[in-house]
Symmetry: C2
Subunit: 251 residues, 2 copies
């Protein structure tokens, strides 16, 4: 097994990797044993970097994956967390088409990486195989997003697209477009999951502060409102989305 050693934070490859924390358009960085073991199954790993506290079995990572022994100082440079686990993987982003046989989650301007990551994890749990995010949303491969997914993003179709076009496309493909507008006294409002039976669902969630952009109100077929106390203005967006996806999964 070929293993290179990197001891300097000024090494060119390390400089390139460090940039992935903020520029994750083509590659991104993974941290931690569990996530990297999961990534191996999907053939997305370009290289592995590890310190002497690493616990993954390097022999399982074939010759096509480059291996680098790094110092703790270098690990701290590339890590996005305070206490790193001593193992990192640089992964390629492989774009997948939307799975038109499955439900789709549509995210209009979700900003918080924790919310985005949690939504990816919940979407997978509840059979929403594709997520389309509008251009203003936080990136799918932001390190904090990836951490929150708990290694559940590899099988998903994660697509950034213009939402207006996307909603038209989903409508044309016979999706029921489900909105989550608050305070919309609309005839479209429903509070139970009965309308979802035998339908392909495209569920739209909005921004943490402002909800879904009002321009999409016309496009929705139904507006789902979660029953809750009137004393609470709204739920966290990842919570609301997961409750609805769960209620669709159950039927």
């Amino acid at each position: 097994m070929d293993i290179n050693t990197i001891t300097s934070t000024k090494n060119e490859y390390i400089k390139e990797i460090s940039k992935l924390k903020t520029d994750y358009s083509e590659k991104y960085i993974l941290e931690g044993v569990h996530t990297i073991e999961e990534a191996l199954k999907y053939g997305v790993i370009e290289s592995i970097l590890f310190t002497n506290k690493n616990t993954i079995k390097l022999s399982e990572y074939g010759d096509a994956i480059k291996k680098y022994l790094i110092t703790e100082e270098v690990a701290q440079k590339i890590s996005a967390v305070k206490t790193n686990q001593g193992v990192f993987a640089v992964c390629k982003i492989i774009e997948k088409e939307i799975d038109l046989s499955s439900n789709v989650l549509v995210l209009d301007d979700v900003q918080d990486p924790g919310n985005m990551g949690t939504l990816i994890r919940s979407a997978k749990a509840f059979g929403f195989n594709s997520i389309v995010a509008g251009e203003r949303s936080v990136g799918f491969f932001n390190p904090k997003v990836v951490r929150s997914t708990q290694a559940n993003h590899f099988s998903m179709s994660l697509v950034k697209k213009n939402l207006e076009q996307m909603i038209k496309f989903l409508k044309a493909n016979e999706y029921l477009i489900v909105g989550t507008f608050l305070n919309q006294d609309s005839k479209k409002t429903i509070t139970s999951n009965t309308k979802f039976k035998d339908k392909k669902i495209a569920l739209i969630l909005g921004n943490e502060g402002n909800g879904i952009d009002i321009e999409y109100l016309e496009s929705i077929d139904v507006n789902y409102v979660i029953k809750m106390s009137e004393e609470v203005e709204s739920l966290n967006v990842a919570i609301a989305g997961s409750i609805i996806m769960s209620s669709i999964y159950k039927i």
Copy 2:
């Protein structure tokens, strides 16, 4: 209206307030207009501190609440976020008894402040008026927790207690004790909300990585398992808890 001015980060009161970011056992700090307006309704505010970018109506905050004009430098010293809104309140923690007429959320070692805050918000939305957290859980008044509640914690009974004793106490008060153990092939396992009808529920959620401590397995009456894809190991704890609370609220 009496307004004092503080221009130094070394002012004794500012030093005291800065400590509340990590020691929130008796008082805690609130940031932001919306949250502070909400706090006013509950009579918990001891003082208001504001910079010249403040937008709250000071006249609504009576004479019993001390008012301090502070500099941006002082604001940055007491703020827990990068971009502060220019207004802070120091609040008293008022302990409330558990509401024994309502459902109770029991948190065994929830560590992430975002999860704790989101659970407080969801608990209020779904009529769980009390939350009991074990001693190892993150504090209710940690600044990040308070931020995630979105001003929904004021009306709640938030109690830190020994959970073993608490579960006995809830049992004695005729609560149905609901666990959320994963991978427990137990006769107690249920996957629908039918058992919850006309019962007072105590729902136990566990640690982000390890779930509920196994020592509580004996104490539970039923173990609720959320239906989901087998490809996903688990849900985020705030998501799982909110889905179950929502399903209980609906019946």
